[in-house]
């Protein structure tokens, strides 16, 4: 028998090198460049030279815009997180035994996920329109308050967050539905024999077993929310009076880096976003020990 020329871990190293190379080229290298850029001055044409801490100093001395945008982003992320319990309830309802047309409903909820965000944003823009919008028509008919939902600083961020929840519902639902499938029916049956009603079974059996999925969905939802840009960009537009109070951190990054062409300052904002995202995610991982059950 021929001896194996390569030990197993050499093979592993070779095969892992491929994805690792991709990680280095597409993530770690740009990340390093972004860090260097944040300490530089220059323009896209003349190139950038490292000059020191000027951009970071600007952030801490004159960074009101950045902190405001960060706060807006965290508020947005917190609101969109409410989509997780909503998705859970819907997932549980769709999971009920004997429900007809289950795949039809799932498709229905998944449609926003496969629709272009730009198209979604355009349609919601019409719905929210203060003069001709569908929402105001309905509210007017029932005597509710009407306003320019996405042009009013008091409501714009929340109005966009509602769309964010709606768009994320499909993905959340699929992950939670898969989690529900893996809950062994025997446990539910055992609980039923012990006399637990449907609500009690849901909270005492299903939810604890579903916690790993809920955790994953929450983490992904928060990370996605912290990077929110497209909905705001399309739904608000550049001359919107609500922009100052609703701007997210990535939107600010876009303005600095690509409208005002200050790429180094953009790099600073991108890195702040990265640090905040890492911190928020780390907190979530720390807290999960208290509530996530791994069966």
């Amino acid at each position: 028998m021929r001896p194996n020329r390569y030990p197993d871990n050499a093979w592993a190293a070779i095969l892992l090198a491929v994805p690792f190379g991709g990680l280095v080229i597409f993530y770690l290298w740009p990340l390093l460049r972004t860090v260097l850029l944040s300490f530089s001055e220059g323009t896209a044409f003349t190139g950038y030279t490292i000059t020191g801490f000027e951009n970071w100093r600007q952030l801490f001395e004159n960074g009101d815009d950045v902190w405001r945008a960060l706060l807006n982003t965290l508020v947005y992320a917190a609101i969109v997180l409410l989509g997780v319990p909503i998705a859970m309830v819907i997932a549980a309802l769709l999971h009920q035994r004997g429900l007809g047309g289950r795949s039809f409903y799932r498709t229905l909820y998944f449609v926003p996920v496969v629709t272009m965000p730009v198209a979604v944003a355009m349609v919601w823009r019409y719905i929210y329109n203060g003069d001709f919008g569908l929402l105001n028509e309905v509210l007017d008919a029932v005597g509710g308050p009407t306003r320019a939902w996405v042009a009013d600083p008091d409501t714009a961020l929340y109005a966009v967050a509602v769309v964010g929840i709606w768009m994320a519902l499909g993905t959340n639902l699929i992950i939670l539905a898969a989690g529900l499938e893996s809950v062994p029916p025997s446990l539910e049956e055992a609980a039923m024999l012990d006399g637990a009603g449907p609500v009690r079974r849901f909270f005492s059996v299903t939810v604890p077993l579903l916690t790993p999925s809920i955790f994953l969905v929450s983490v992904l939802s928060v990370i996605g929310s912290l990077q929110m840009f497209d909905l705001l960009f399309i739904m608000l537009g550049r001359t919107n009076p609500a922009l100052a109070d609703s701007r997210t951190i990535v939107y600010l990054f876009y303005e600095e880096a690509f409208v005002r062409n200050d790429r180094p300052l953009g790099a600073v904002i991108a890195l702040v976003t990265l640090v905040v995202t890492l911190a928020v995610t780390a907190v979530q991982f720390r807290l999960q020990r208290r509530w996530v059950t791994y069966a």
Binding site: T34, F45, Y128, D131, A242, F253, D262, A270
Partner: protein, 428 residues
């Protein structure tokens, strides 16, 4: 159990890291194929931000291709919102177009970066006469005696109005000798209490609204030497106040919120506004819309303390990263030449910049009095620019918004803007 956690951690890490990759997108593949040797096929890419003008551009390029066998030009339309970031990133990355549209407000950074081809030789060879272009616009694109672009067109701002709404209110149409007081009086009579019709639109649009009135009031946006802001002068404040008063004092215009939801031109075209000050570049859009074509007409801007209208033009530049510098420079000149100018005017697309071709624009849509745009060109003030216009122009909206919504006085808003603008100008 352990592996689930690791998987979760990996998924989260990947999602976090996508952030870092944000910076390097946007460079769309343009560039040119072929090696550019004699007799070989030359493919050039031409970038523009206007779908409205595409048919006229294609017509111009067809003429060019006919005159230059072996050269083909592909049009690349990049929407306005992405145009400048895409052009800058792709040019810096060496994958940009060969020829592209340029504005006076943007060209400074490109000249400083050394990414534009001088067009002097190609212009010399073309036999065109520089005297035939509007001088103020040519100056926008000349630096230190070198020409980097030639204006292909120009536009001025006029007072568009909806005849049907004037008829309904029993009012005579606006005339060239109107003042802003006439606008206010008529706008009040045209505004319907139920909010279905407003007398005029007062969007926060520098080129179409407040820049014009600032210069009419005798103020300026930027000092002549381009080093200080003019926003805190009483004249500039008066020029801005005219528009904010239309909304907050006279109530004859929809609010800024309303314009954020539905842009002013769309409101005008749906018959909600009786008047709107905007550019000659909208003539083609109004002519192609049945309602607008039948009901709209245009006259000169009303006067303030003096007459003024903002004049602006688009230039064509050749990018130094091109593989075919000779052809690219030639094309850039051709796109701003007499033939191109004539086609632009004849199709009613824009006012051709080359002397003698403007009349064709006026004749293109006889339903509108487009002569008004030419008549006021003599009072034209070139859209104010500095070396890095975006650094301050991008902050105008941010500072003026509270004045438009009535949360701040124009004086307060203008003072804040002037300070921020002076700070940006000091860095140039």
């Amino acid at each position: 159990m352990k592996s689930t956690k690791i998987l979760l951690a990996l998924a989260a890490t990947a999602a976090v890291l996508t952030l870092a990759a944000c910076g390097d997108n946007g460079a769309s593949a343009g560039g040119s194929g072929g090696d550019g040797g004699d007799g070989e096929e030359v493919n050039l890419t031409f970038a523009t931000f206007s779908p409205d003008q595409e048919p006229a551009i294609r017509q111009i390029l067809d003429v060019y291709e006919e005159q230059n066998p072996g050269v083909t030009v592909e049009i690349q339309i990049i929407p306005w919102t992405d145009y400048w970031s895409t052009l800058q990133t792709s040019t810096a990355g060496g994958t940009g177009p060969d020829v592209a549209w340029m504005l006076g407000a943007k060209i400074g950074a490109y000249i400083d970066g050394g990414v534009l081809l001088p067009l002097d030789d190609a212009f010399e060879a073309s036999g065109l006469d520089i005297e035939n272009y509007p001088e103020q616009l040519v100056d926008l694109f000349v630096d230190d005696g070198t020409t980097y672009a030639l204006p292909k067109d120009f536009d001025t701002i006029g007072l568009w109005y909806n005849k049907a709404l004037f008829d309904e209110a029993g009012l005579p149409y606006p005339t060239p000798d109107w003042t802003w007081d006439d606008v206010i009086t008529n706008a009040k009579a045209l505004t319907k209490p139920d909010g279905s019709v407003y007398g005029i639109g007062a969007p926060m649009d520098p080129q179409a609204t407040y820049y014009n009135t600032i210069y009419q009031a005798g103020g300026e946006v930027i000092s002549e030497d381009g080093t200080t802001s003019g926003y805190d002068s009483p004249e500039a404040i008066e020029g801005i106040k005219f528009w904010t008063d239309l909304i907050n004092v006279h109530h004859v215009s929809p609010t800024l919120e309303s314009f954020a939801d539905t842009e002013s031109v769309a409101q005008f075209m749906s018959g909600r506004l009786a008047m709107l000050t905007t550019g000659s570049f909208y003539a083609i859009r109004f002519a192609n819309d049945e309602y607008s074509s039948q009901n709209f007409d245009v006259t000169e801007l009303p006067a303030g303390a003096q007459e003024a209208t903002i004049i602006n033009g688009i230039g064509n530049v050749a990018l130094a990263s091109t593989e075919h510098p000779e052809e690219a420079a030639e094309l850039a000149v051709f796109l701003s030449g007499e033939e191109a100018s004539r086609i632009s005017s004849e199709t009613g697309t824009v006012i051709g910049s080359y002397a003698g071709t403007e009349q064709a624009f006026v004749d293109a849509f006889p339903q509108f009095n487009l002569q008004a745009f030419l008549d006021q060109a003599e009072n034209g003030v070139v859209l104010p620019v500095s070396r890095n216009t975006d650094a301050w122009a991008s902050r105008e909206g941010e500072f003026l918004t509270p004045a438009w919504t009535g949360e701040q006085t124009v004086e307060e808003a203008a003072a804040g803007l002037a300070a921020a603008m002076n700070e940006a100008l000091a860095q140039e």
